[in-house]
Amino acid sequence: MKIVFEDVYKRYKIGKVDVNALNGISLTINKGEFVCIAGPSGSGKTTLLNLIGCLDSSTTGNIYFDDYNITNAKEKVLEKIRKEKIGFIFQSFNLIETLNVFENIEYPSIGKKVNKKELYERIENFLKEIEITELKKRFPNELSGGQKQRVAIARAFVNQPQIILADEPTANLDSATANKVISLMKRINKEQNTSLIFSTHDYEIMNMADRIIRIHDGKVKGEEIKNG
């Protein structure tokens, strides 16, 4: 799925003060691309990911998914996009505390018409690859930060979405695990042509991306095409 931002502004009101989180962003992310959004704290990375993830709407400007303008789409449509096209990995894990690891991962696919056997196989494989198979029955409060993050990643991938959005996905992982996880994500990215859109400060991740988009004060300040 191709994503196009056309002069997008996002303004938050904090009391009487307006904060321009995004200040006229225009960009295009192609299907299957691995893009890193880089920028200092407060530059608007999370806001940008939220807009791509249909969690929030822009104040002005247009956002297109494959030429379909989602800017004024109804909640029902956005819900369907979130459910079927997007996998989200949050900055602070956001696992459901009352569900165990397996249930957390399985949840996004519940109610979808999928082959159960295939789905469970996929989950098991994924658990094996990110080495959390033995944590299946544990609850989030029994996991370390890194383990939680891996569960969050598995949850994002289980539905085989077209776009994976990850807000600082490796911020809480040691570098060895981080590398392993990113390699895995990158492999899926190549195998299934899934777009990866990360926000990160991590140079190692940036080096693995196809492209880095640098933003500052809610504006695109530059791009860097990689070939690795």
Partner: protein, 418 residues
């Protein structure tokens, strides 16, 4: 679909266990209110039952048959009376039917009024009375013999001229047991008839207006006084109040409507209906207050637990789950808690009802009744079901505001909420 339901249910259970203290608080509120409702409802129901049975026993019987035209006319008029043959016919109709076994008592009464005068005294007082068959009447309503008698004895039916009068009347005329009195009444001749009588007992129903004028006489004496063999009322007592409609229907089909008018006790007991509607209003109001308090309390605790999980709900929305599903989680939690706690409450309530009843705490007789019953609370399936439904409705209403609140929050605000 089954999978979704199972995960929502699992989640609901675990969330209830997550904050045990709050769950316990809401749970206790549901349990206590359920117990209170059950006790209040069934105490009132039991009291109304005793009141009804008391009214039937002491006044109306289950079914009354009167001469066509009598009901609504002057109560003491001798114009509309049933003859001996007409009375026999009624008895025969029942005795030859399947309802024979349901009939417990078959009484006749004459209603009369007159003046009562103490021998050797010039002061007279108006009396309104009932002429009855003492043997049969006291069998149907033993209260006359044991409960209400204040002094002396109720009519024995053995000696002619026996009279029983109310306490107010006795006081006014300064009458004591064994005093000789004269009863003046207007009988069939149109001229005053006079009967000499003797006070055999003084009776009280606890209602001044009744005790001031009531008089009981033997129906044979009054028939002699009026020179008639006729009576006003046939009063039929059945084995069970629930059978009234069937018997009534049958009798109406068998007896000539041009001669007889047939009434159920409820057609006659108009003040009974007023008392019942008064009790019902009181009781309805009490239940209403309990429900309102419970709704406020539960709304509050449900809201607290929902706000705490705001970021989880945001996350669920972000991964594509819809509002309905999230609302269902909140509602299911409430339903689980509601079911468990109201059933517990009903169990405790039923046990308490049984226990309190077993203590046999004495209570005064119901208004107008003659026999006093100990404190009794009988639970019945209808009350249990009704209260269960009320509680489920209450708890569902309590989820409305939290559900609306969570549905309105924007996803990113919910995710960021801590």
């Amino acid at each position: 679909m089954g999978k979704l339901l199972s995960i929502i249910l699992k989640n609901a259970f675990r969330n209830l266990l997550r904050n045990k203290r709050r769950t316990l608080l809401t749970g206790m509120a549901i349990i206590i209110s359920t117990v209170a409702m059950l006790l209040i409802m069934d105490y009132n129901k039991t009291s109304m039952y005793f009141f009804r049975e008391g009214q039937i026993q002491s006044r109306w019987g289950h079914i009354q048959v009167k001469k066509k035209g009598y009901y609504g006319s002057e109560t003491t008029s001798l114009k509309y009376m049933l003859s001996k043959e007409e009375v026999a016919k009624v008895k025969k109709v029942i005795k030859e039917s399947n309802f024979k076994k349901n009939m417990k008592h078959f009484l006749v009464r004459i209603n009369f009024s007159g003046l009562l005068l103490k021998e050797g005294d010039s002061e007279a007082s108006i009396v309104v009375g009932s002429a009855i068959d003492p043997q049969k009447e006291t069998l149907a309503n033993p209260g006359l013999k044991y409960g209400n008698i204040y002094d002396g004895n109720f009519l024995s039916g053995q000696e002619p001229g026996e009279l029983v009068i109310g306490t107010g009347l006795a006081k006014r005329l300064n009458l004591k047991v064994s005093d000789v009195v004269y009863l003046y009444s207007v009988g069939g001749t149109g001229l005053p008839d006079i009967m000499e009588g003797k006070i055999s007992g003084i009776i009280s129903f606890g209602t001044k207006s009744v005790d001031d004028i009531i008089i009981y006489a033997d129906v044979e004496d009054i028939q002699k006084l009026f020179g008639t063999e006729n009576i006003h009322d046939i009063v039929i007592f059945l084995d069970d109040t629930n059978n009234v409609n069937d018997v009534l229907k049958y009798m109406k089909s068998k007896l000539d409507p041009n001669t007889y008018e047939i009434f159920a006790w409820s057609d006659l007991a108009t003040d009974y209906k007023q008392v019942v509607s008064y009790i019902f209003q009181n009781f309805f109001f009490t239940i209403f207050i309990i429900v309102v308090v419970l709704i406020f309390l539960s709304t509050n605790t449900i809201l607290m637990s929902v706000m705490e999980r705001m970021s989880e709900f945001g996350t669920l929305r972000a991964i594509g789950r819809n509002r309905i599903e999230i609302s269902l989680m909140i509602i299911f939690e409430a339903i689980i808690l509601g079911i468990v706690c109201s059933i517990t409450g009903l169990g405790i309530g039923a046990f308490l009802a049984k226990f309190l009843t077993s203590l046999s705490i004495p209570l005064p007789p119901p208004p107008g009744g003659s026999i006093s019953y100990p404190l009794s609370i009988f639970t019945n399936p209808e009350s249990l079901l009704l209260i269960f439904l009320i509680q489920m409705a209450t708890i569902l209403i309590a989820t409305i505001y939290p559900v609306l609140k969570i549905s309105r929050v924007k996803i990113i605000d919910a995710i960021r909420y801590y």
